[in-house]
Point group: C2
Amino acid sequence: MASPAALADYSSRRGSLIADDRSMRREFTHANAQSDKEIKADKIIRKIRALEAETIWREDHPDVKHPFPGMEFLTGKSIIMKTRIFEILSKMPKGALLHSHLDATVNAEYLLDLALKHPFMHIRLQQPLTAETLSSNIPVFRALPAAYFTNHTSLMSAEVGSWISLQNARNSFPSDFGGVKGFDKWVIGSLTINPTEAYDTHNTVEKIWQKFTGIFLTSAGLIRVQPIWLEYIKQFFRSSVDDGVSYVEARINFLPKFMVGSDGQENIPHREWLLLFEQALKDVKEEFAQQGRGHEFIGAKIIYSTIRAITPEELDWYTEDCIALKKEFPHLIIGFDLVGPENAMKPLIYYIEPLLRFRTRVEEEGLDIPFIFHAGETLGDGTEADVNLYDAILLGTKRIGHGYSLFKHPKLVDICRRESIAVEVCPISNEILRLTSSMLMHPLPALLNNGVPIALCSDDPAVFGNMGLTFDYYQVFVASEINGLSTLASLARDSIQFSMMDAQEKAQATAVFEQRWAAFVDYVLTCEV
Amino acid sequence: MASPAALADYSSRRGSLIADDRSMRREFTHANAQSDKEIKADKIIRKIRALEAETIWREDHPDVKHPFPGMEFLTGKSIIMKTRIFEILSKMPKGALLHSHLDATVNAEYLLDLALKHPFMHIRLQQPLTAETLSSNIPVFRALPAAYFTNHTSLMSAEVGSWISLQNARNSFPSDFGGVKGFDKWVIGSLTINPTEAYDTHNTVEKIWQKFTGIFLTSAGLIRVQPIWLEYIKQFFRSSVDDGVSYVEARINFLPKFMVGSDGQENIPHREWLLLFEQALKDVKEEFAQQGRGHEFIGAKIIYSTIRAITPEELDWYTEDCIALKKEFPHLIIGFDLVGPENAMKPLIYYIEPLLRFRTRVEEEGLDIPFIFHAGETLGDGTEADVNLYDAILLGTKRIGHGYSLFKHPKLVDICRRESIAVEVCPISNEILRLTSSMLMHPLPALLNNGVPIALCSDDPAVFGNMGLTFDYYQVFVASEINGLSTLASLARDSIQFSMMDAQEKAQATAVFEQRWAAFVDYVLTCEV
């Protein structure tokens, strides 16, 4: 009774509806049609993904309770790193990294090593050291002027609150606390979020943000020291490039008006920060050029940021500071943002006067400093953080940082597609900061199907452990049957297209990307299943 | 520099954008404009909600780790029940309950009491009883023919696998297992999902579904016994009406061709099930009429369902069975569905031939049996369960059961709005079955803002503990700053409008609802803040 004609008709209507539903996806709008090679490579990685879903993700892992592809990153990371998909994606060219907070971009081990090179780096306790409370005993770091150096040789003998040199504190760390290794583990624990915190003791958006913001206060003492900062930035560039990232736009928090110099004084103003940034850029470009990898690193720029906890009057100072820096470093300053926990701090509308003033001032000065706002990094519906999305868009934001709640807003989704406002999606960050419990619950598929331009970003990889972009690409790739090789390419291409590079840089970045992409496809074709 | 005119202009554009973004919400399309009273009542409940978010939801609750409004239902239920919002919502008229599985609609305590009235009800063990393994030791229930009655007096003395009368088993339950109370707790535990299972031991969609489907196998032995079934249905109606529900459409699983009669034989065919349903309906209507509450209960109908694990050939038998029942009980059978875990069982496309045949047959017979399909009850993206949404819509589904992944599909969302395909959203079910970790992560706001008609539903309240609809309304109401009194009214009105009642019944249900709604608003006005 269901005739072949009826079945054929149904099948044809079905194919059309599915195609129509997915027709806005940007992988279809990118000019590059899939080559035969890409079609073959796509089949290969889908096959490996399916195989690994049924093998490594189904096996018993003694330390991992409920393994599945796209699971909580901090628990699943050890499994991810054993997969072939991870190995393959680590070789993929990723385009640009458009959303990362500079203070959380270099892994904690490396940062500690950097700090340990400097005798002026000091540490102090806020409470007595005991083995039981070690993990919640957050140390304080600072570069001290020589006049304040102490002769304490151990954290145990020094009074709580007294400074002791970092090197001494480490070398004398009690053996029942693990000695030198125990010291490193303790310090690194204070600079990162661990699975117990994310998934148990701090398992709400509000609680994990308390730990998260605490980390920035702690790490600033180590990072924001002139000679360390320079090396820190260089390492950020190197590790990004090693992961296949060609270009970065880092958000730098300019709230503190000075960083600490080698003399231990807080006296390095913002314009010197930019000189250091420029120096790091130049040095690392030379390094890569010397290795014959010069084409792999296009460059780096800065989104000027301050914290959404200041007063509107204070914001006027920062916007003028931003304008002054833009005039001196027009190639480095490419946007303005307000950062910090959206649920807890001030909404954009609170700053509407200084923000409108800033826009007028920028025009008067004939400058180009677009807003690139964080907005909608929230589970709230109609809350101030959610409503930030309206203001970000009305204020002409070039991109949206996170836009986690964007999918709820039909008109805003429409505007983002039509006006090409890209969203900087940070999958692992969203999950660790408890907006989503796993990649499977993330609303990204809704944005992709609605044709919103997307750039995947790592946000704070030093805190989350998702160094580079491979981990974020991994989580996105394994959480959807729709996502394929062309999705990966589309995300990487969008990251270049929606960066703030100038036309010439973009052309260069695109040419390099396409060449590397072709090589990547060739590599995938060699991956036997 | 930001002139008053510029600020006023911004403010006006902002208001327009927000209004535009929310303009599709159905609370604005319902003819009923908000009265002054409603506007006042809305302010009152918003104020209480805000107050309780900052008081009861922030207090320390020794048994609840991370309390917040919209949290995991099984953990938060005790707090919910202490709130004034819950008390208020429990008095709200709810319209229709459009998605519930009959076998999971009466609370387990009541069911056990019903079963204990019948000496023919028996129980047996599948493994020896020990105190340690009690909670995982799932009993088996059955009504036995008298010839099979045993003289075992205790589960401890009977061999594993031997039947013993339920009454005896209970009365002799060992005191070190808690005696009679321990027995009740054990049985009820086998019929419900507890917080440890949902949020710890079975904390993935796949694992919790294993427990979930197991419960239906266990409870069938108690429920699908003619005299119990009749009382069971009556209690479902009563408790629904007591919660403010005026009308229900229950999915009944017709997979087993017979239920057990009072004689312990499996010999009661489907048409007799419908006679029993009709009897229950008549009896409960009379009960309410006698209490002067006749207007509170409009009626109940049935969505014929079978399990999506059968073969396409077997489905032909069920569709013909459905047609035969529809002919005899045209006022009771109002739709057809395939149920069971979508991720694990067969997709709609697997049944495309019998389903198309069914549609032709229904037309030939001049009947009206629309599909009312489960679809998209999944975290999958592009998986068979997600793709079910396309097939449900192409097959002309009148409503969509769950549609959890619908928000990802722009064209389907559009179709649902334009063609008035309502979605039966089951917030608490979705959370306990681990599609979402809390109401804050649920995609419902996206559907509401897109103007998709929504009916809130309880799905399997006997298993989840969300009896009635108050709990589901609670979770939705407290998880959004946008949702207000008019949202609640809109959801209830949609449940009536998108039910399968005939025009006359709908008119009656609507008239009763509007009258009760007005009384509810008056009541809210009396709720001091």
